[in-house]
């Protein structure tokens, strides 16, 4: 069955949308990742205009993160103070990001910017995932190998505006989480992702937060930042497709539950290598779109960026 998406203005197969939502949802349930960084490029591959894919995916990430954020909130796994500082940065960053998005769209460079952002981030994350998983796998087989220290002191601990974060048991400069939030906010706006893949490692390795509260706190920030992106994209670019978001959501919710259940039965490190490889494959596909000689040397747009 085909459905005409009112904002994307294309006709797509409903089963395909549900399948995409389910597949990415399964992976996100399996690995505990948001899935936005896979969904947005996949939407672009099936012919959704990139600007619509990014804005709609931000909307879907709100839904995908809410139930997780609530669950962590109930278990008190959220450092609210840290979350609010990250969020302050996130609001500034995502507002800046949507502004940048609108400008790039007006000059016809938004598709290029989205692709480049994806190639860079999927490339880095995919490589890190594979390398890290292979190392962890080897460590399992050879327990004598040295372990990495969790909390180290860097130059960042000398920054001003120090704040005490009781839940995280940290006394650090508020500028650092603010800057991290800001950076992730820009990514959320331009890539249509929650940014958990940057936020979680940054919180562990840069801030030195305890792993137990990292996921809850990052989900807390992601819900509000992606909500801000949704609102600003709707106002500035009218690119949020509620119908598309709903179909992805239905598939995504079901897929995530199946994935979460399956994750208990499968071997962790091999799975992470697999996810890393999937991420790299998507990265290569996006990169190919940038370097391959286009079908036509001329492309259409509409003045003012309304496509």
């Amino acid at each position: 069955m085909q459905i005409y998406l009112p904002i994307a203005e294309v006709s797509v197969n409903v089963a395909l949308l549900l399948g995409l939502g389910g597949g990415v949802g399964f992976l996100s349930g399996l690995f505990g990742v948001g899935g936005g960084f896979l969904m947005t490029p996949l939407l672009i591959f099936i012919g959704i205009p990139p600007a619509v894919a990014v804005a709609t995916e931000a909307n879907q990430v709100v839904a995908a993160s809410v139930s997780g954020a609530l669950a962590h909130w109930r278990r008190r796994n959220v450092d609210v103070k840290m979350g609010l500082v990250l969020l302050a940065g996130g609001f500034v960053g995502s507002s800046l990001g949507v502004w940048l998005f609108t400008v790039l769209r007006g000059i016809g460079q938004i598709d290029f910017a989205i692709s480049v952002a994806y190639v860079v981030f999927l490339g880095i994350i995919g490589m890190l995932m594979v390398v890290e998983s292979v190392r962890a796998w080897q460590r399992q087989r050879n327990p004598a190998a040295p372990r990495r220290r969790l909390h180290q002191h860097y130059w960042v601990h000398g920054l001003p505006l120090k704040m005490r974060f009781r839940t995280s048991k940290l006394y650090i400069s508020a500028l650092l989480p603010f800057a991290i939030g800001l950076f992730v906010g820009v990514l959320a706006a331009i890539m249509g992702v929650g940014g958990g893949f940057v936020l979680v490692p940054a919180m562990i390795y840069l801030l030195g937060m305890p792993t137990s509260i990292v996921v809850g706190t990052s989900l807390f920030q992601i819900v509000f930042v992606t909500a801000n992106v949704t609102l600003l994209q709707a106002i500035n670019n009218q690119t949020v497709d509620i119908v598309l978001a709903l179909f992805l959501l239905i598939g995504g919710v079901i897929g995530a539950q199946i994935g979460a259940r399956a994750s208990g039965r499968l071997r962790g490190e091999q799975l992470r290598i697999l996810l890393g490889l999937i991420v790299l494959a998507v990265c290569v596909r996006v990169a190919w779109g940038l370097v391959a000689t286009p079908e036509d040397m001329f492309a259409l747009g509409v003045p003012g960026g309304r496509e």
């Binding site: 904002i7 709100v62 290029f112 709707a234 001329f298 003045p303």
Partner: protein
């Protein structure tokens, strides 16, 4: 197809009635459309429109369907450091978003080019000279790029055998509208040429519009975008919360 034939029958009946009355002599051409409105509904995947009519004795028929005029920007893809980016661009003002020509035989056999172009008929190669300030040498590749892209999207086209004539009296043609057809008023021009000269011309209009839920969502998103954004967030939060509740057990 049978529906199409059924619709033509009353026309030929009308024609017979008209043939005996004096007003027929003035109008050598009768035209009707299977629809006067193309509705883009939630299930829309593109559509076909049947245009049919009757003409007086011999002559060639040319049908021109033209969509609403909008500004178009064409960007040249340029290679920078190994990757393709959008480079130089040309803006064309007021170019029809849809332009399809159909005739019963190749245009050059029907009438001389001057006569055709005087009536706004071109073989799908719109002349966009008047729509931009860019000099011809620079304009032409961009103009060709625009036409090529729109042709690929099914929005532009020329079919030299798209009009079927039956018994030198009845004719019909089908026009295809792809799923991405732009909304707005369309003009339908039907020309009758007799031995290279324009013998008759009929113009009518057609509207393409979004209807139903999809149209409501689109209008809402554009007219009250702040409220739309808020609703999108509320729906997402509710759906996420609901999913958490349903699957907790």
């Amino acid at each position: 197809m049978s529906a199409a034939r059924l619709r033509i029958l009353p026309i030929s009946a009308t024609l017979l009635a008209l043939a005996s009355s004096p007003c027929w002599a003035a109008g050598k051409l009768l035209v009707d459309l299977s629809e006067e409105e193309i509705a883009i509904t939630t299930g829309f995947t593109g559509t076909e429109l049947l245009l049919f009519g009757a003409k007086e004795e011999r002559g060639d028929v040319v049908v021109v369907l033209s969509g609403p005029a909008r500004d178009a920007v064409v960007r040249r893809r340029e290679r920078v450091a190994g990757v393709w980016v959008n480079g130089a661009s040309v803006v064309f003002r007021g170019v029809p978003v849809y332009y399809r020509v159909a005739s019963n035989r190749p245009l050059k056999e029907i009438a001389p080019p001057e006569i055709l172009s005087a009536n706004g008929i071109t073989e799908g190669t719109l002349d966009l000279a008047g729509t931009t300030d860019v000099p011809a040498a620079q304009r032409v590749p961009f103009q060709d790029g625009l036409i090529r892209n729109r042709t690929r999207q099914g929005l532009y086209g020329y079919d030299p055998s798209g009009v079927a004539i039956q018994g030198d009296l009845l004719f019909r043609t089908t026009a295809t509208f792809p799923a991405n057809v732009p909304t707005g008023p369309y003009s339908v021009n039907v020309y009758l040429f007799d031995r290279g000269k324009l013998a008759a011309h009929r113009e009518s209009t057609l509207v393409v519009r979004k209807v139903g839920l999809g149209a409501d969502v689109f209008n809402f998103a554009h007219r009250q975008s702040t409220l739309y954004g808020v609703i999108a967030i509320v729906v997402a939060v509710f759906a996420g919360w609901l999913a958490g509740v349903v699957f907790r057990r």
